[in-house]
């Protein structure tokens, strides 16, 4: 099946600093991926990895500096503002803060039907409100509430209802479980999974939490300093991560089991600044496996279905080499 979204060599640059010494930094430094209909694709990374910027660029909330974005076979990164608006009926976005992404002085009922008013879609707004709220499992009387009267989980459901209002083909969800208690996270993920299979949606889920990914995503990409370091089917990556950064992320998510004293891969040093990208492999400053070559040459992404940007991909269950302890 052909992809609903094709992203090729996408770059997003920001200009920072005072006028006289303005510098450019690449928040997204050339990434490519496809999302197929009905598929969930996860973007995983920590703060500053560029995952949110990438999502905003795909949605055209952020200007693209290079590369291309094709949605439903049409190139959208060069489309005019007026032409892009109708596209947004079919590509919905959900933002991190469940309460903060709802207009504070707009009632839930108005919020979920806002897409109808924006795109002047003829519909009985009252019926649509009821339909959407029941789809996400909220009672109809929630339509009269204001966002600040909702719990995080409820607000997240309202956000989901709004996203699916015009039956989009693709939903981009930025940290759908952020700020939610563990016992509520499951509800939201179940809801997303359920809607995806019922409505046949494609989804991009952006998260720093790997355990979220394993339950919802078919394929995933791990981002570091604006690049993909590893891409592939979620199950395979979870079973045997090949990039050291992926391995470190996976190990940083211990199971609640005291007998499995996990071998955490402890990454030293701070994340480098985007204004001073390390030479060679950009992860080498923090990589426990780094060798001489890593500081000199940048690795290329290799592989077909499974791409890894590393000179020395890990064998399954590799553990970091012992460091000489200097005391």
């Amino acid at each position: 099946m052909s992809a609903i979204l094709e992203v090729r060599d996408l770059e997003v640059a920001f200009r920072v600093g005072p006028l006289v010494r303005r510098r450019s930094l690449l928040a997204v430094a050339g990434v490519s991926f496809d999302v197929r209909p009905g598929e969930t694709f996860a973007l995983v990374g920590e703060s500053g990895s560029g995952k949110t910027t990438l999502a905003r660029a795909v949605n055209r909330l952020q200007r693209v500096s290079a590369g291309s974005v094709n949605f439903e076979g049409r190139r959208i990164d060069t489309m005019s503002r007026g032409r892009i608006r109708p596209m947004r009926q079919r590509m919905a976005m959900m933002f991190q803060d469940p309460v903060g992404s709802l207009s504070p002085r707009m009632r839930v009922g108005d919020a979920v039907t806002e897409p109808f008013r924006i795109h002047k879609v003829e519909a009985s707004l009252k019926e649509e409100t009821e339909r959407l709220l029941s789809l996400v499992g909220l009672p109809a009387d929630f339509a009269n509430r204001y966002p600040h009267q909702l719990s995080g989980g409820q607000a997240r459901r309202v956000g989901v209802a709004r996203a699916i209002a015009l039956r989009p083909k693709l939903i981009i969800a930025d940290e759908p479980t952020a700020g939610l208690d563990v016992s509520v996270q499951g509800e939201v993920l179940n809801l997303l999974n359920d809607l995806r299979s019922r409505l046949g949606l494609a989804m991009i889920i952006i998260t720093h939490n790997l355990s979220v990914v394993s339950h919802v995503a078919d394929r995933m990409a791990v981002m570091y300093l604006g690049r993909f370091v590893e891409t592939g089917p979620t199950e395979e990556i979870f079973r045997a991560p090949k990039h050291p950064y992926t391995a470190a992320l996976l190990s940083a998510n211990p199971e609640p089991d005291p007998d499995k004293k996990s071998a955490r891969i402890s990454l030293p040093a701070e994340v480098p600044s985007l204004l001073a990208r390390p030479a060679g492999c950009e992860f080498h400053t923090r990589c426990p496996w780094a060798r001489d070559r890593c500081a000199k040459a940048a690795p290329r992404s290799e592989g077909r279905n499974r791409l890894v940007a590393c000179h020395f991909p890990l064998a399954p269950n590799a553990s970091p080499p012992e460091k000489e302890t200097v005391q």
Partner: protein
Amino acid sequence: MSELEILDLSVSFATGGGDLQALNKVTFKVPEHRIVGIVGESGCGKSTLIDAILGLLADNGRIDGGEILFEGRDLTKLGAKELREIRGPRISTVFQDPMGALNPVFRVGRQMTNIQYRSGLSKREKARRAAEMLRRVRMPDPEAALSRYPHEFSGGMKQRIAIAMAMMMEPALLIADEPTTALDATLEAATIDLLLELQNQIGCSMLYVSHHMGVIAELCDEVVVMYAGEVVERGTTRQVFLKPRHPYTQRLIECDPARLAGRAEKLPTIPGDIPDLRARPSGCVFAARCSLREEVCGEPPPENVREGHMARCHRAAEN
């Protein structure tokens, strides 16, 4: 012997809509040189508990009953001055928010020397100790760091400074309130290693508060599970995580997505909300959300203890 012992502690806040009972008869111990984890979701009373131990409850909060025994003294009975002498030198705290934990308009060095005001050391000696402590938390160029302002550091580095400040006091008890929640996962590991290493060197006890069960399981010797201001389960880490006896703990562990290796069709959840703490249910606080609920749950559940493993549940005897 216990470093900290909390007995039947109850705390409430006066609010516009009536008294809110934030803690209800909380009891647990932190033995010497051990790490005790407190786990619970939002609204479980973790923060109130820390404030109560430190004597820093908000103006509208009050201790309704119970004792906080530390080094043989009941902290609830101490005056402000005596509490100040314990806070810092004897009980140090690392807070959740590294961004806000340091005063933005004073240099790091000044803040680190200020807290040594009781030591009687010379100014130079205080600065030397501060730099030494920064070196121990692996701050690059510690001397230079002393003359910088907090906003010049990243979040991870600020948290290291906060840890250095807490450990510099060589306390008997370290309270760590979600110290890694605001940090990235790959920095979390290093931060926890650092805390463990320093705790070993200094030989203090630690009270580690987190909502992250994986971390608690990995780090702690004993675990206290809190729900709606009550301790619902308490025991060694192995007991609580391997054989949970309270339905809430059982469900909470099930819900942790890290536990499920493969892709699950339906993730487990706990439907419902915590009860309104202004009108606490007379029976079990978890009953409204519990799938095992029966009639007896309308009565206050007993503390069921077996081999030091406590669960506050009518049906705990079955587990």
